[in-house]
């Protein structure tokens, strides 16, 4: 999806440290892989995302999920960011839990599967593959 944002400064937040090499020299943060099944990590992850948002003050926040993306979009709105959710292409039968709950907080709420699009959202506007 990077070509959509060419010309903009991009900051990355992910749970996988090994991805740093693919995005050099952009700023890159890792957060704990929290979920409903790992709540301690979830709290640390939310706190770090809040800190990153306060530091970076993004204009636009985009995520394919799951929990880190959910927190980034919800908290990102407190900072006035435009929020974009692109539900992962791996969610082919139904939206992810975070993808369902993010609806009211995503300025652009997308699924990558046409059969999952709904009149009230999410919309289908193509896929990453």
């Amino acid at each position: 999806m990077l070509p959509a944002f060419e010309g903009s400064r991009i900051v990355y937040v992910t749970t996988l440290p090994s991805y740093r090499q693919f995005v050099q020299p952009a700023r890159f943060y890792t957060v704990c892989d929290g979920s409903l099944w790992n709540k301690v990590c979830l709290v640390r992850m939310a706190a770090k995302i809040l800190w990153i948002l306060a530091l970076e003050r993004p204009d636009v926040i985009i995520s394919t999920g799951a929990a880190p993306g959910y927190f980034a979009l919800r908290m990102g709105r407190w900072f006035g960011a435009t929020t974009i959710w692109v539900d992962s292409i791996a969610n082919v039968e139904k939206l992810s839990l975070s993808g369902r709950k993010i609806g009211p907080y995503a300025d652009l709420w997308l699924t990558q599967w046409p059969h999952l699009a709904r009149p009230e959202g999410p919309r289908f506007e193509g896929a990453v593959l």
């Binding site: 959509a4 204009d59 292409i89 300025d107 599967w113 046409p114 506007e125 896929a127």
Partner: protein, 197 residues
């Protein structure tokens, strides 16, 4: 090289035995490597390992001419990202190959996009093995998203038209034209801007 993979959680001998037999009869000259999972059975006509690391998985996918796999999301997405033709046989819960029938749904959705070949049984598997490399010749994977998605993202984020799509036409094989057109994005972009961008 043909790379066969069945994931790490359960064996899938219905697939791997069929390929092993094929390799014995027809496969001479082309290397076949199979990641066969936790099975007691031992292949006779192909190189194999029950499990491989993520790095080896990516490497073998990159080196393969064709991937033959269970309908696991990781296998499918890796193959598509690396531009490899993939022939998929879904695991069936009814045969004890999986906990549920998700693989049938996964396979049929990706097949509907024209991105993968699907075989439901051993006979179909062997029939399609011969022609699967024709599959995505017309649809080489770009390492970027579809032009439609790039345009939608760029417009919404307030960026200019991405150069990657400035000249692209919309006639990509898997865009679904028969879905109702989404309302004009310009309206929503304005709403987004009022939200404080």
């Amino acid at each position: 090289m043909i790379f066969v993979t069945v994931g790490t959680q359960l064996p899938f001998d219905r697939l791997t035995r069929a390929i092993d037999e094929w390799a014995g009869l027809h496969g001479r000259g082309e290397e076949v490597f199979a990641q066969v999972g936790p099975t007691e059975w031992r292949p006779k006509h192909m190189r194999w390992s029950p499990f491989i690391t993520a790095e080896e998985f990516a490497r073998r996918t990159r080196e393969a001419r064709v991937i033959v796999a269970h309908a696991g999301m990781g296998s499918i997405i890796t193959a598509l990202e690396l531009g490899k033709p993939i022939l998929v046989m879904p695991r069936r819960a009814s045969l004890g190959e999986h906990r549920n029938e998700h693989q049938m749904a996964t396979a049929s959705h990706f097949q509907a996009l024209g991105r993968i070949a699907v075989a439901l049984d051993e006979q179909e598997l062997l029939e399609k093995l011969g022609s699967v490399s024709d599959l995505s010749a017309a649809d080489r994977i770009a390492h970027t998203a579809s032009p439609r998605l790039l345009r939608a993202l760029a417009r919404f984020a307030g960026c200019g038209i991405p150069s990657a799509v400035a000249d692209a036409n919309d006639a990509r094989a898997f865009e679904h034209r028969d879905f109702p057109a989404a309302p004009a994005l310009e309206e929503e972009a304005t709403i987004g801007a009022q939200g404080g961008v």
